[in-house]
């Protein structure tokens, strides 16, 4: 027994660099964040203990509730629209034997580009009233307003750009999972005279269900962390209509220097993250057993 423990001790050195880095960059600052959430801090002077005041302020702040609501909306949009597109496209790719890898590369292109480039391309070349394609159409065909500038459409507009960038990744993952569906099952279904939809519903779908479930959890996690596209395209505006928890926290910390409040928002985000983490760990339990 002690001999085994000794052997494990020599293995400890392998994990030390990664653990050390992760503890210094993530765990210790995260614990500091928890403490700071109960203080008033501008980032420079000594933090002042406030107790629960930051949380009380947030719960009374209508922008905070709007941010939570927007995060929920964002999650629902991302769990349906890109999932559906990716499932349809992945099953269509199965029918294209020679061209599937070409399609796959094209669909991945938006995913591999930087959010800064993507956001600026869409804002300036498509939505902008002066220089974008929409502006051109509204001058020559019918008047369309800039969908980013309106409270009722801004969130959906940013979400569609993010979906444009993201769906190809899901399609590639689903396609890889579908290619592992046993061919005997597919052939048997063919011979039984099953149609395309029946094959999808009764053979493909049950086989790729674990992958779909994992992507479901991943998309939920990332929907609560999402930041780039909203920050780059609208900065949370107009009139906080696209504000998310992440942009709200960022604004508190670096625009109004209410770091205590920013960390309180971050704590709320982590609670959502923790719930998703539980689901994620639960789904990875098989690989943990190995």
């Amino acid at each position: 027994m002690s001999q085994i423990a000794e052997r494990d001790r020599s293995y400890l050195f392998f994990a030390l660099p990664a653990l050390g880095l992760s503890l210094c960059v993530i765990l210790v600052p995260a614990l500091l964040t928890v403490v700071l959430a109960f203080t008033d801090w501008d980032g420079v002077s000594m933090p002042v203990w406030l107790g629960l005041e930051n949380f009380r302020d947030l719960l009374n702040d209508i922008t905070f509730w709007r941010a939570i609501f927007n995060n929920v909306k964002w999650t629902i949009i991302f769990l349906t629209v890109p999932m559906a597109i990716a499932l349809v496209v992945a099953s269509l790719l199965l029918t294209r034997r020679r061209s599937q890898s070409v399609y796959q590369s094209i669909f991945l292109l938006p995913y591999i580009l930087s959010p800064i480039a993507n956001a600026s391309i869409w804002s300036n070349m498509i939505f902008d009233q002066r220089s974008g394609v929409l502006g051109y159409f509204s001058r020559h065909l019918l008047a369309l307003h800039d969908p980013l500038g309106h409270v009722s459409t801004a969130l959906y507009t940013v979400a569609s750009v993010d979906i444009w960038h993201f769906w190809g990744y899901l399609a590639v993952v689903f396609f890889a999972a579908m290619r592992q569906v046993p061919t005997e099952q597919l052939e048997a279904a063919y011979l039984e005279g099953a149609g395309g939809w029946q094959i999808f519903r009764h053979i493909t779908l049950p086989n790729i269900l674990p992958t779909i479930a994992l992507m479901f959890v991943m998309v939920t996690i990332f929907s609560f962390l999402t930041f780039d596209y909203v920050f780059l395209m609208t900065g949370g505006g107009p009139a906080h209509s696209t504000e998310l928890l992440s942009t709200l926290a960022y604004g508190f910390a670096f625009r109004s220097f209410e770091v205590g409040k920013a960390t309180a928002v971050a704590l709320f985000m982590s609670v959502f993250g923790l719930m998703a983490a539980y689901a994620y760990v639960w789904m990875s339990r098989e690989s943990l057993q190995q």
Binding site: D8, S10, Y11, F14, A15, P17, A18, L21, S22, V25, I26, L27, P29, A30, L32, G43, V89, L92, L93, T95, Y103, S105, L109, I112, L113, S114, P115, I116, A117, N118, S120, I121, M125, I126, G135, Y136, W164, V172, V173, A176, A177, L214, I221, F224, L225, F227, D228, F231, Y250, A253, A262, V265, A266, G273, L274, A277, Y280, V281, S284, L288
Partner: protein
């Protein structure tokens, strides 16, 4: 192959064609407008350029401060990849091979840290770095991005080691090899393809990273390529032709890198999500 009704095949082709158009159209807009003047773009963003003159590109290279950006981007990405792959490969070894409770806890810790919002550690980290004078230091920033990329990389490398038969470890043990020798001479050579895949994915993530990079690489001297482009695009009354040329400069190297190493990209993205 069983003969099927040609109509669904046509529909499939049409739908896929539509998605190709949706994916590529914004990128084609960048390509054509990079060669046009600002006035021509405002006149009609869909018109073809009159010539393939490269003035826009020259102006963008200077405006985006890309000669500084390219050095910082390469240093930042290189350091992050190096740290992530070395630390990740080392940590993956005991996590794949040792079975007592402590290793399960370490795995659990890394799994949980995948879901931690960056904002949970960003603010104390930023003000600490500011006090230490590390803002704008690519190597210090690389450590943060490496820590973020580590958990998923470790998981990926761990599954890779799991495919290597344990008999090889046992044979090395019987021959008197230490754990380090087993790792260095038995496991590492066999897990090289896994390390390459992780390196490719992490370099893409780092090159494109926005939140950490824009927070910690402040000041012109610390700008990466994407930050230089961001600063140029955010300037007052930008020239759109120059801006799209700048977008080309930022985008084209990534596309080239991607097309060159497609197989590795797809492997890295689907590993872990698809049970092999």
């Amino acid at each position: 192959m069983i003969r099927t009704d040609p109509r669904p095949a046509l529909l499939a082709r049409l739908l896929l064609g539509l998605m190709v158009l949706v994916s590529l159209a914004p990128l084609l807009l960048v390509a054509i407008n990079a060669f046009k003047s600002h006035a021509d773009i405002v006149e009609n963003p869909l018109s073809l350029p009159h010539s393939l003159a490269s003035m826009n590109f020259k102006a963008a290279w200077i405006g985006g401060n890309f000669s500084v950006g390219v050095v910082n981007s390469v240093l930042l990405t290189g350091t992050t990849v190096l740290v992530t792959v070395v630390f990740g490969a080392l940590a993956a070894f005991p996590l794949a091979r040792r079975r007592i409770v402590i290793w399960k806890l370490v795995t659990l810790y890394f799994l949980c840290s995948v879901t931690v919002p960056i904002q949970l550690f960003l603010f104390p980290m930023y003000f600490l770095y500011a006090r230490l004078g590390l803002i704008g230091n690519v190597f210090a920033t690389a450590l943060i991005i490496a820590a973020i990329n580590l958990p998923l990389s470790i998981m990926l490398l761990r599954t890779y080691i799991l495919t290597i038969p344990t008999e090889l470890d046992d044979a090395a043990f019987i021959d008197g090899a230490s754990p380090w020798q087993t790792f260095r001479y038995v496991i590492l050579p066999l897990m090289k393809p896994g390390c390459v895949t992780v390196a490719v994915i992490v370099s893409l993530n780092t090159w494109n990273e926005f939140l950490i990079t824009s927070t910690f690489q402040q000041g012109d001297a610390g700008f990466t390529m994407t930050l230089g482009y961001h600063a140029m695009a955010g300037a007052m009354s930008p020239d759109l032709g120059i801006m799209m040329a700048g977008a080309c400069i930022v985008i084209v190297p990534i596309i080239a890198f991607f097309l060159f190493l497609q197989r590795l990209f797809v492997d890295g993205m689907t590993a872990g999500a698809v049970k092999g």
